[in-house]
């Protein structure tokens, strides 16, 4: 597989398409911005978290973000649970003994009540305290929930693409290549399968999962993938049919190449570049699916940060418009960027611009 990918990337036709893509400014910039967002989400702990980046205590440096959990006693406090770094920060500063704490720019976690002991209510953005987008109805920082929610959505979308494409491409390719009764049988199974109402299955599965396990990202992913791989098979099936009838496949057969070699070295490279055009639309589909499931309450369980859950909170707390505004803006911006990228890729890969065959 890596060899296949590297061959596709080194291929001058692909290079040409990539060059065209970088020339489509809107899509290219959207792609760069999305990549920045994704990179930020990958290192979210360094930007938004309640653990300190660096603690310098009695001449020694500690890095709690990715390191071991430190209890209060480690830094001379009188409790055995995990250090509250915001308090530690203020404490060291008040002590003035040369110890210091470097907090992330937003020192709150996504699942933490940032006003402990006070009433639960949405709080408006407070720049002085570091709640740049305010808090939700149980005092959690919205920026933190947006960022970690985005990370979950990205993880979900990437795994979703990987799984649906692997299943869809493999099965579709086999159907197209072998044809005959195998093709007919699998097609009928797919038709029946894709008629099962997806939302009901999610509700049923969610209600039968034992409490000990509970709904989580992977189970949800499994269910969504189970009902989404079908669409790719149709496309793959028809393009494989088309490619199979081309002379270069016959030429490979004449040379004595086996079925696996023909599918992976001849047909796949000619098909896969067109599949790239689907990826952005699958990403936006996956993000929307996850968000709407969360919005309906059938998605990820609380307290997992998610955009759908934020939207739901926002619509039921319209007197706290910062919740719905931030969730809505984030969703719109990301989906729009993804769509711009998709349009640009589609245009860059438009076979009418340059033909592979003459």
């Amino acid at each position: 597989m890596p060899a296949l990918l590297s061959r596709i990337i080194r291929d001058p036709l692909t290079q040409k398409k990539l060059r065209r893509f970088t020339q489509i400014k809107r899509g290219y910039w959207s792609f760069l911005i999305l990549m920045v967002f994704a990179a930020l989400a990958c290192v979210a702990e360094l930007l938004v978290h309640n653990r300190a980046l660096i603690v310098s205590y009695e001449g020694k440096w500690h890095f709690p973000t990715y390191g071991a959990i430190h209890t209060g006693r480690d830094f001379g406090l009188d409790y055995d649970y995990e250090v509250k770094y915001r308090e530690l920060h203020d404490h060291f500063r008040a002590e003035g003994r040369g110890n210091w704490v470097l907090l992330p720019p937003v020192p709150y976690s996504a699942i933490e009540n940032s006003y402990p002991g006070e009433t639960f209510r949405p709080r408006a953005p407070d720049w002085r305290k570091g709640h740049y987008l305010g808090t939700d109805q149980i005092n959690r920082d919205i920026l933190a929930r947006l960022l970690y929610g985005f990370r979950n959505a990205l993880l979900f979308a990437s795994c979703f693409i990987l799984l649906t494409y692997v299943i869809g491409i493999t099965l579709g390719c086999l159907m197209g290549y072998f044809g005959g009764w195998f093709d007919l049988l699998v097609q009928r199974i797919i038709e029946i399968w894709s008629n099962i109402p997806f939302l009901f299955v999610v509700i049923i599965v969610a209600s039968v999962i034992p409490a000990g396990i509970g709904m989580n990202l992977w189970i949800l992913l499994g269910i969504v993938v189970l009902f989404s791989w079908t669409s790719m098979t149709y496309y793959m099936r028809s393009v494989t049919y088309r490619e199979k009838a081309r002379d270069y496949v016959h030429a490979a057969q004449v040379l004595g190449a086996g079925t696996g070699r023909i599918i992976f070295r001849h047909i796949m490279p000619n098909i896969l570049s067109t599949i790239v055009t689907f990826i952005p639309f699958t990403v936006s589909g996956a993000i929307s699916a996850l968000t709407s499931l969360d919005f309906l309450g059938f998605g990820l369980p609380p307290p997992t940060p998610s955009w759908g859950e934020l939207l739901r909170q926002g619509t039921s707390n319209l007197n706290a418009p910062w919740i719905v505004a931030s969730a809505f803006t984030a969703l719109t911006v990301v989906l729009t960027l993804v769509t711009f990228v998709g349009e640009a890729i589609r245009e860059a890969f438009d076979p009418k611009k340059f033909t592979t065959y003459q």
């Binding site: 036709l13 002379d247 016959h250 030429a251 057969q253 070699r261 001849h266 000619n270």
Partner: protein, 326 residues
């Protein structure tokens, strides 16, 4: 025939036509190749001519076992290919290679020349490592391409160059037989000559046997030792190229030959064109008897009875019962 390297015995390739949604039933058969007997001698160039749709390409694909045979046997050096398993066939393919009509379609657009030429070597494990590079270099030189183009892709070449690559690919395994399915009809006339010369050169140098399929008689005359004329899935005339084309005997061959334009304007003006009436009949429902009788200027009642077998007539074989009369 001891010197025959490839022997076709009553080869038939029929394609079923199916209809119906759930319960598919066969409503007819396209008899693309219908009872072909042919022997290819060692080191011989056999031209196969006929109009579009007469089954030339299907015959080529049948010999290559790219389409399943309905009946008859294809015997290569004593081995019946129609009964070979997939693995046995892979071994046979070393001796039997093919050049396709359209070099734009027969080369994978995403494979470099090197990858395309190395593939047969790797698939058959003929050589590895540096030997592959050496062999590919040699192949490119053989077909008149500069080895420095090795890492280029098919779209960077002209049609003639691509066909050279396709020929080099067919030569990679040092086959004994090459089936060339209209190898020049997709090329410009000026390039055609180059490719033809290359092919006949290779045949002489390497002792290849070549089945050369074309619909252009002058091209076939130029390159072939013997010519087989096909009409509607059957061979109607078979013999030495010069005899068949200069003195055709079968009425269909005569019509075909009369359609060759000549370069000399005077001769061109006096050329007697035999214009055949109607279109070639459908291979789904071929006429009874001699398939050519509905269009034949010499047809009689007896032509509608049975298909005439190929009978020897001097240096050649002709399938026409009125041969002596016309």
């Amino acid at each position: 025939m001891d010197d025959a390297i490839l022997q076709l015995n009553d080869v038939r390739t029929h394609f079923p036509i199916q209809q119906g949604f759930l319960f598919r039933r066969q409503v007819g058969t396209v008899k693309a190749v219908d009872g072909v007997n042919l022997a290819l001698k060692r080191g011989e160039v056999l031209g196969l001519v006929g109009e579009s749709g007469c089954g030339k390409s299907t015959l080529a694909r049948t010999i290559m076992q790219l389409v399943p045979t309905t009946g008859g046997t294809v015997v290569l050096e004593g081995r019946n290919l129609t009964a070979c398993s997939v693995d046995e066939m892979t071994v046979v393919r070393r001796d039997l290679q093919m050049v396709f009509q359209d070099p734009y379609a027969s080369l994978n657009p995403r494979m470099t020349v090197f990858a395309a030429l190395a593939e047969p070597l790797l698939v058959h494990g003929v050589c590895k490592g540096d030997e592959v590079v050496a062999r590919v270099t040699e192949l490119m030189k053989t077909v008149g391409l500069a080895p420095r183009f090795m890492q280029k892709y098919p779209h960077e070449f002209s049609g003639g160059q691509r066909q050279r690559i396709a020929i080099a690919r067919a030569l990679a395994l040092r086959p004994k037989i090459i089936i060339a399915d209209e190898p020049v009809s997709a090329l410009d006339v000026s390039i055609q000559a180059q490719i033809l010369n290359l092919l006949s050169q290779l045949v002489r140098k390497m002792g290849l046997s070549l089945v050369f399929i074309a619909h252009d008689l002058s091209v076939v005359r130029h390159i072939s030792d013997r010519v087989a004329v096909m009409y509607l899935g059957k061979i109607v005339e078979l013999g030495p190229a010069a005899d068949v084309i200069d003195h055709p005997q079968h009425p269909y061959t005569r019509a075909l030959v009369s359609a060759i334009p000549t370069a000399n304007p005077d001769a061109e003006r006096s050329r007697q064109r035999i214009v055949l009436a109607g279109d070639p009949p459908s291979p789904i429902n071929p006429p009874a008897g001699c398939a050519f009788h509905p269009r034949c200027p010499h047809a009689q009642e007896k032509c509608k009875v049975a298909f005439p077998p190929l009978v020897p007539s001097g240096s050649r074989e002709v399938a026409c019962i009125r041969l002596g009369e016309i």
